[in-house]
Subunit: 213 residues, 4 copies
Amino acid sequence: MKDTEFIRGKIPMTKSEVRAVSLSKLNLRDDSILYDIGAGTGSVAVEAALSMRYGHVYAIEHKEEGCRLIQENLERFGLDKVTVVRGEAPDVLAGLPVPDRVFVGGSGGRMAEILDFVRKRNPQVQIVINVAALETLAAVGNYLKEKGISAEIVSIQVAKAQALGSYHLMQGQNPVYIVTIEGESRTESGKSLTEQGKIETMGSTKGKMYKKF
Amino acid sequence: MKDTEFIRGKIPMTKSEVRAVSLSKLNLRDDSILYDIGAGTGSVAVEAALSMRYGHVYAIEHKEEGCRLIQENLERFGLDKVTVVRGEAPDVLAGLPVPDRVFVGGSGGRMAEILDFVRKRNPQVQIVINVAALETLAAVGNYLKEKGISAEIVSIQVAKAQALGSYHLMQGQNPVYIVTIEGESRTESGKSLTEQGKIETMGSTKGKMYKKF
Amino acid sequence: MKDTEFIRGKIPMTKSEVRAVSLSKLNLRDDSILYDIGAGTGSVAVEAALSMRYGHVYAIEHKEEGCRLIQENLERFGLDKVTVVRGEAPDVLAGLPVPDRVFVGGSGGRMAEILDFVRKRNPQVQIVINVAALETLAAVGNYLKEKGISAEIVSIQVAKAQALGSYHLMQGQNPVYIVTIEGESRTESGKSLTEQGKIETMGSTKGKMYKKF
Amino acid sequence: MKDTEFIRGKIPMTKSEVRAVSLSKLNLRDDSILYDIGAGTGSVAVEAALSMRYGHVYAIEHKEEGCRLIQENLERFGLDKVTVVRGEAPDVLAGLPVPDRVFVGGSGGRMAEILDFVRKRNPQVQIVINVAALETLAAVGNYLKEKGISAEIVSIQVAKAQALGSYHLMQGQNPVYIVTIEGESRTESGKSLTEQGKIETMGSTKGKMYKKF
């Protein structure tokens, strides 16, 4: 989805290309329970909700302006699959349903607490983190090392052409690290082909199965 | 989807992150007719087919090894929504159904012919092009200039962490340009920004909703 | 040199890192005659002049504000090795001494004319071009193809950490293509690889040694 | 300087563009004493030595193959300004002259020790670090935070065109972080911005002028 489809305020928004890659890494199911932590404008929550048939998204945002923007975007897209939760993670996560997917767009400096909480709630949870700050990258790296978790880490640098007279200048966007902690892959070995095929209608789990045997 | 889910040969494959962004730019509907031109291993065709319920994908590939790989991947994912067409575009496109979406992963040096053909077949067609070579970038640029078409051009450079002992080194992948020619948007030129916003929103929401109901 | 060492106006300036790579590709000698075409603020002309003992730089700039900025920077660094030439290249190049090095920071849409002119003046000239616009990249590519010249083409994307509270966010700069047309190498075509290796080494060592003795 | 000018083994070499930027950040003077820590093939030591008239470079490398390669490169360029020191930093640094410039290309996991040692030897030392691993980036970040040092941190991602038939494909190189700890700037804290501007300018102009006269 284009960034222009969303109502935006002064709050930074996950850019279209980074959002597309992040959602792809989340590997959502049609019935996923997703926490969007540090939801900002809600662009990730909205695009995730639009791609699920039965699931639900909990958009966690501590800023009032952010929560208002998310609401406006939910109304714009006529979405009832997203619940806005105002407050800080992990404090406000306690009462929510167990997630199978977690996206962390902002951690408010509490990355380790957040990851500990959601991984305790569901050891199989699939977590995707967007990292813009070097300190956050270090925090995530330390966490993975401490816990002995292996994760996929990619950095993405996007530039976009801007027309200037009859020229197009490539304008650099800020590089973002996308960290993916694979919940599922650690436990699927026991499941049958059909089960897996069903669970993930898209059949990519089936692809994973083949990897296993 | 992960690159490891696909059967791969020596043929270059669109990498996971670039594929995710390209599919996002394609903005597929549940009933889209997609041409995947220069389909290579079929990774784009497969992931596109998995994300549509009623549509169909025509995977155009002139190399025999490529066609074989695509077939193997179709069987792996149990897909019947993809037809492999061996040959060169646009030569082999004549008999196919009119497309509403076209992805060009490889043009065999015939970019202008291909774009002319598919745009003539459907002036509203949404086209997404992956460009790896400077000559291809120039060819696309010249085409857009000649035809007076405005397109979105982004470049994406991905690096992926590789474990080396107790260290993770970021390994650079090749930068790719992703060019998007917005079929639909051309029809909205007469409308006000807000109208366009609405229509654009509805359009793509509908697109997404078709996927679901 | 740091960008902050220069007096800057509204005119775009070659950024420190891109300037360093460009000067390295220019491989200046202590007695080089350098044209800095599209000199802008004069940052390349100044840093080049500071690194040569006997050479001279002709800073070509058609904007009055640019010429004034260059003058101010020359005074700031107390440089007498740089002559500011106001006007458009190649028109204003006719009267100037034959160059052995040419940097093109801006071509005013006349890239082919400029390259033809300086290569005619000195077939051995070493040319380094900074490209920010896709149209310019195509123009340079077409020129190289037409003339059958092989050049080195690199793209550089820089991001710089910016402190935001207790965090450092990486801010993306615009990607730049740096094209290097090796004057000297063309004369070595007849020689064996080892000879070339020797000559290349000696050549540039000599170049560097000139600086020293 | 081009990478091809150096004799190379299996040891990783700082690439031309990253070397050019790193040397620019080092801001060498004609009489600098430079430690090149983790010298690898000696490409940084050689290019640094070629650019100084009176200074000296101590190339620290613990691998035997590396030390041999550095020697071969020193002979190739007929350099007597570089001393190869085999061993691990900071262990082997004790006996060496006080440095005013330090380049860290490899730290062997002892970054903090190395930085502590050289900064104790000379609080004004100018340090440039090349970082390829996420763990090293975290180590440098933690060090800067602990010591309350502000540094410049840039990341550079280079891609280079490779001819493939009649096409040129951009091949991505690995991204590198270049961290610069400004020795000198710390002494200017008391001065006004303009004074600092002047001094900085004079300082580095002088640095450059030393090279010349």
